[in-house]
Symmetry: C2
């Protein structure tokens, strides 16, 4: 092209991805076409294909952004010494911060149903993460720090049920809000609602 399109914002892969994820969350991944995306961006489909080869590749980039964040927290948890319950609390707290920081990406991840190769791969990584959590719960139970009267897999699911609920209600605001929510999740999960419990 000889005429630069002045005044129209250009897109790099990152800004394109952000718009795509927003659209996928609004209309569903299956319900969004590359045509819809090109209309939303105000650029041609071939301009999109300049950055990314397919809609599925956009999905892969998006869900990996969420999963990579969660697995980085898991890796840093693995570096810690000490009791399993403290490592579990570190993992829960870090996961809340990842959700708050990468909310649209995690929202998309949690709605993935497994209809494509990318979606199945994401579900497999989610299961791997769930296993890490369940293993930590088991270890903390073996160390006598977690109540033994709830199945560890159920405990892990309930705690991450709280964490994942953020996608339904958390509104990113000032910087401290995410840390406050992480505190709230840890208080409720580890100490319970009841005073004197």
């Amino acid at each position: 092209m000889t005429t630069p399109r002045r005044g129209r914002p250009g897109y790099d892969l990152e800004s394109l991805l952000q718009v795509a994820v927003k659209l996928f969350n609004e209309r569903g991944y299956d319900g969004t076409s590359m045509e819809d995306l090109s209309r939303k961006l105000g650029i041609t489909k071939s301009a999109i294909y300049h950055h990314v080869p397919s809609k599925e590749e956009l999905l892969r980039l998006a869900v990996d952004r969420a999963l990579d964040g969660l697995f980085e927290v898991a890796a840093s948890t693995d570096q810690l010494d000490g009791r399993a319950i403290d490592r579990l609390e570190h993992l829960v707290r870090g996961s809340v911060l990842v959700l708050a920081d990468r909310l649209p990406f995690v929202t998309l991840l949690l709605r993935v149903r497994g209809n494509t190769k990318v979606e199945r791969a994401a579900l497999a990584r989610r299961r791997e993460f769930d296993r890490l959590v369940t293993d930590l719960v088991k270890q903390a139970e073996a160390e006598g720090d977690i109540r033994p009267d709830v199945d560890p897999a159920v405990t892990a699911r309930l705690v991450f049920g709280m964490v994942n609920s953020l996608i339904e209600w958390y509104k990113p605001r000032r910087g401290s809000a995410a840390a406050e929510v992480a505190d709230a999740v840890c208080k409720v999960a580890f100490e319970g609602l009841r005073t004197g419990s």
Copy 2:
């Protein structure tokens, strides 16, 4: 018709609704046409319209099945005397049992995004239910039974984050399973994971 269709199961509204809800959950409400439903049921669209005037009416019946169950529990909670924390526990336990019993209906309800009149009405009833929960948490906090260091609306959302996570992982099995899960949710929510907490 003069020839009864022997060997093909007939549908009443209830069985038709069950198939519709399953399909809505698999493909999304927006992604499911009455044509899809007629193919799945093996009956004509006009046979469906004999039972129900529109796809949206099927959605309304389905989400009301979920919401009515939750509001019945809320009404029975309201009849109880005693401390707010005990009423809250009754509401949480009852909600888990409703989810377990009406799982496909609640799954559909929790995925509703508010694009139609029926969806907006369902979201309004969900907000009303959330307010009831938050009010109970506030009352229990005022009575000194719930930790005052977490915002009551956040507490309410986290507890129902646990409850609602059932749609992701609960598999209906033998009769006692739902009661066990309800116990687990109440233990984790009210007493916390930590032993000696």
